[in-house]
């Protein structure tokens, strides 16, 4: 039994929660970047428990490449009747669940990052190592990461692999902080009592939310993107000097997911507006630096001009 706060009990971190939900519905990746103690990992793990009923397939610091790609099982070689037996790696497991979580992603060794990059980019895993030549496999998964920017930036190539990026901050509002403490102290007391009112309510809320997310995911691909929405998306990307075209593509997919969550069949400008910041913040021209550029009031106002919330497609 893992001591992870149930997702419905997470207070605050609205941007991160929204990004995770949109990403799940649209089958996209998310990077949460922020200072220590902002519940990035907790929120991501809790979300995975909500939608997958299990913790995410996790690539921790110190992971070895045989665990990433797969390798020969040591236990099988050490058995009474030794035999070489291939043990699948984390990328293959992530392909099954659809999500790979990398904690402290900016501290990963470069060669591990390269392995993840290849698989995340192509969805194809080809393994030839230790006398093994395995058939190519298709493993598509959403890359979800968390990092503390104090420990250094992320390589731009890896940053580009995340559809959405959320800058997570401490909750400054005293009422929210009080609610966080109230919830956590109550959870301390009741976490081992599933029948308590507190936990029963969290479980019921989780079921409702899970159902809503699964349904939205099912209908997401059927959500239409009218031509004017595509044009508005391109205009936003151009206005923010976005590098490449992945920004527009992921922004549209995220807007589709947002519309699916709202249970509408056609993407509207408000959906684009809702996902524009996390889709564009990390794609603005910044030489080859992996540091996120500042996003302030001016950027919000520019988005308001290009994607006025009152416009409905």
């Amino acid at each position: 039994m893992f001591d992870i706060l149930p997702y419905p009990l997470i207070v605050g971190q609205t941007e991160l929660r929204e990004a995770l939900e949109v990403a799940y519905v649209g089958r996209l990746g998310v990077l949460a970047t922020g200072q220590r103690g902002t519940a990035k990992s907790t929120t991501i793990r809790a979300f995975s428990l909500l939608v997958h009923n299990d913790l995410p397939v996790t690539l921790p610091i110190g992971v070895t490449d045989d665990r990433v790609l797969g390798g020969w099982s040591v236990e099988a070689l050490l058995g009474e009747q030794p035999r070489p037996e291939w043990q699948k790696g984390l990328l293959a497991r992530a392909g099954k669940t659809g999500m790979l979580y990398v904690d402290e992603i900016n501290l990963l060794d470069d060669h591990i990052v390269n392995l993840v990059l290849d698989a995340a980019a192509t969805g194809i895993l080809t393994v030839q190592r230790d006398h093994a030549d395995l058939p190519t496999e298709q493993h598509e998964f959403a890359l979800v990461g968390s990092m503390n920017p104090d420990e250094g930036p992320l390589r731009p190539q890896l940053l580009d692999r995340f559809a959405l990026v959320v800058s997570v901050r401490d909750e400054g509002d005293p009422a929210t902080r009080a609610e966080i403490l109230r919830t956590l102290f109550a959870y301390d007391l009741h976490r081992t009592e599933p029948d308590s009112d507190f936990m029963a309510k969290a479980t019921a809320n989780a079921q409702v939310l899970r159902q809503r997310l699964h349904e939205a995911r099912e209908r997401c691909r059927g959500v239409a993107c009218p031509p004017e929405i595509i044009e508005a998306c391109a205009a936003a990307a151009a206005a923010f000097d976005v590098v490449g075209h992945r920004g527009e593509v992921t922004m549209l997919k995220a807007a589709q997911a947002r519309a699916a969550l709202d249970n509408v069949k056609v993407v509207e400008v408000r959906h684009l507006r809702a996902v524009a910041k996390p889709a564009l913040i990390h794609r603005r021209q910044n030489v080859d630096s992996g540091t996120l550029r500042r996003w302030g009031q001016a950027e919000e106002e520019r988005l308001d001009e290009i994607l006025p919330a009152s416009q409905t497609g």
């Binding site: 921790p60 665990r67 040591v74 070489p84 230790d130 104090d150 902080r177 102290f185 301390d188 630096s289």
Partner: protein
């Protein structure tokens, strides 16, 4: 009088499993072991099972911490067996009680383990065909010298929110377990106290500064343990105040800020040392203890001296800066704890960079388990393809071949606008020679030259060594006009962190050489946006100085600003060198050389 002895703190720690790490500051070295022993006995009294003490230090390797494969002799033959790590936990087995005698000198593996385990809901290990996860329940106590705290990573400090000043330390005079058994025996442990709204407000009020929410959680959980010791069904304001005192918080911290607006606060006399001593000897937290007067309003002002001084605590509101230096918004500690080779050494068993293959092993270091076993398998395999149980002989042993990575780095920032009619080679020669001798990797960041792809942005390339022909070409570029110095310094900061903080074989030592006259004329935001809007003024210079402050806090980086002997603006290179935490070398131009 509140109960605020080490015994009280340890009793609370035994009762509250989610308290996080406890850090004793400037503690008499002989006391830590005694405190660990008392805490272990306390945990046994509360949970019915004693934890396993584990001492971690500078020589504890990452491999020792987590489950791993080790060579072993079984039934007379050599083979591999999976061994638990020092931090491994299994259901039904006692959890570790981690004791760290000097947190500032602990190995990088331990630091990473602390960051990823303390307060986490799950620990994942994915190493060498071992894939396990468990909910961590280990308790952590550590000691550290006060002078070392500011250099610790905020990431690590965040996991040790309970801090105790060694000046308040004292030997333990009575067993912790007896008192705790009284609380948890009989009808079993009572329901733990709930949190009331008043107490919650007090917890929030204590967090006046820049502290993370983990601090509030630690205070609240400590207060809950205080309440439990007093058999309070609900955590009271007094419980929070007393828990605050355990953390060195002045009682005045908990005053309603509006109550402090008056010109003069009536002050109660500070208790004498004798009174304090007497109060320590009184039984504490006993059921049926007289509840103290509520705190607030006039009563509050009459009872609490403002500010009351607790040894090692704050004489002002909030947490003591000497115990919690990371609260200072200006503090930029050196982020070293999560990087490898902080002490200039590789982790035990590691000899370099990424694994690129394997080779015959001459000793038992850095063994490649699977290649060794495969070799044994091929040797033991019978004609029908099956094999008997593997035994390993010397010829089977394989070790990893690792990519060579430079352990020295030279970052060269070239401002070509400063090189007009000036030869900087005398200023950079020593560093280029050092890079050659040390086979250092080189990163060149250059700007302000004619023909730049974008004159508002610096360009960067990485060379495996200083003999790369591109470096000589860089020294010959004709100067241009724009000087995005701020973006270049920012990029140099990223470059240093990238090479020094990542991976097994991170760079040990780096030199940063900035060739410039300090006259940056492109603000950082203009470099990012790709265009300059309006008058620039000093903005480019100020941005460069601000970007430099991050580099000043990096350890093992030696920084030099090489500048032309100035005709004017002499202070600019000096200001930059100061901000970078380095030195400035003025070099005469070609025409005015002596």
């Amino acid at each position: 009088m509140a109960a605020n002895s080490p015994l009280d703190l340890l009793a609370c720690a035994a009762l509250e499993p989610a308290l996080g790490g406890i850090l004793f500051i400037d503690l008499d070295p002989t006391l830590l072991a005694a405190y660990a022993e008392a805490l272990a006995a306390g945990i046994e009294a509360v949970e019915g099972r004693a934890p396993v003490p584990v001492v971690l230090s500078s020589w504890t390797s990452e491999e020792q911490l987590w489950p791993h494969w080790g060579l072993t002799a079984r039934r007379g033959v050599l083979t591999f067996a999976q061994r638990p790590g020092l931090l491994s936990e299994e259901p039904g087995r006692p959890a570790p009680l981690v004791v760290i005698p000097d947190l500032a000198r602990v190995s990088t593996g331990v630091t990473r383990a602390a960051v990823s385990s303390i307060g986490a809901g799950v620990v994942h290990v994915e190493r060498q065909d071992i894939s396990v996860r468990w909910p961590p329940t280990a308790r952590w106590i550590a000691a550290c010298s006060r002078s070392d705290i500011p250099a610790l990573s905020p990431h690590l400090l965040d996991r040790f929110q309970v801090r105790w000043d060694g000046a308040r330390a004292e030997p333990l005079t009575r067993p912790l377990s007896d008192h705790l058994r009284r609380i948890t025996s009989g009808e079993g442990r009572r329901r733990r106290p709930e949190f009331g709204g008043d107490a919650l407000e007090m917890v929030l009020r204590a967090n006046t500064g820049n502290a993370s929410i983990r601090r509030s959680l630690a205070l609240g959980r400590l207060a809950r343990a205080v309440a439990e010791r007093r058999s309070h069904p609900v955590v009271t304001r007094d419980d929070v105040i007393d828990a605050g005192e355990l953390l060195g918080l002045a009682r005045s911290t908990f005053l309603d800020p509006s109550a402090l607006d008056g010109p003069d606060h009536p002050t109660a006399p500070t208790p004498s040392p004798r009174e304090r001593e007497e109060s320590r000897d009184k039984p504490i937290g006993q059921p049926g203890e007289e509840p103290r007067q509520p705190v607030g309003g006039e009563q509050e002002l009459a009872e609490i001296s403002a500010p009351e001084i607790v040894a090692g605590g704050s004489t002002d509101l909030g947490y003591a800066a000497s115990l919690y230096p990371e609260d200072d918004p200006e503090a930029v500690p050196e982020a070293k704890s999560l990087q490898w080779n902080a002490g200039g050494r590789l982790p035990v068993g590691r000899s370099g960079g990424a694994v690129i293959g394997h080779e015959s092993a001459g000793d038992l270091r850095d063994l490649a388990v699977v290649p060794t076993l495969l070799r044994a398998f091929w040797r033991c395999r019978r004609a029908d393809g099956t094999a008997t149980r593997l035994h390993i002989i010397r010829d089977d042993l394989r070790r990893h071949r690792r990519e060579h990575r430079a352990q020295r780095l030279l970052v060269l920032v070239l401002d070509h606008t400063a090189r007009r009619d000036w030869d900087c080679s005398a200023g950079v020669a020593a560093s280029l020679r050092w890079a050659y001798e040390q086979t250092a990797a080189v990163s060149v960041i250059e700007f302000g030259h004619r023909g730049a792809a974008d004159e508002l942005r610096p360009e960067r390339y990485r060379a495996r060594s200083v003999v790369d022909h591109r470096i000589m070409i860089s020294f010959g570029r004709p100067p241009g006009i724009a000087s995005p110095l701020a973006a270049a310094i920012d990029m140099a900061d990223e470059e240093l962190r990238r090479f020094m903080h990542r991976g097994w074989a991170a760079v040990h030592v780096a030199r940063l050489v900035v060739v410039t006259d300090g006259r940056g004329n492109v603000p950082l935001e203009a470099s990012a946006d790709g265009h300059v809007s309006g008058r620039v003024g000093r903005e480019g210079v100020d941005d460069a100085l601000a970007a430099a402050s991050g580099i000043a806090n990096l350890r093992r980086v030696e920084t030099t600003v090489v500048a032309p002997v100035p005709q004017q603006y002499r202070t600019l290179p000096e200001e930059l060198a100061l901000a970078l935490g380095g030195t400035v070398t003025f070099v005469h131009g070609v025409e005015d050389a002596p």
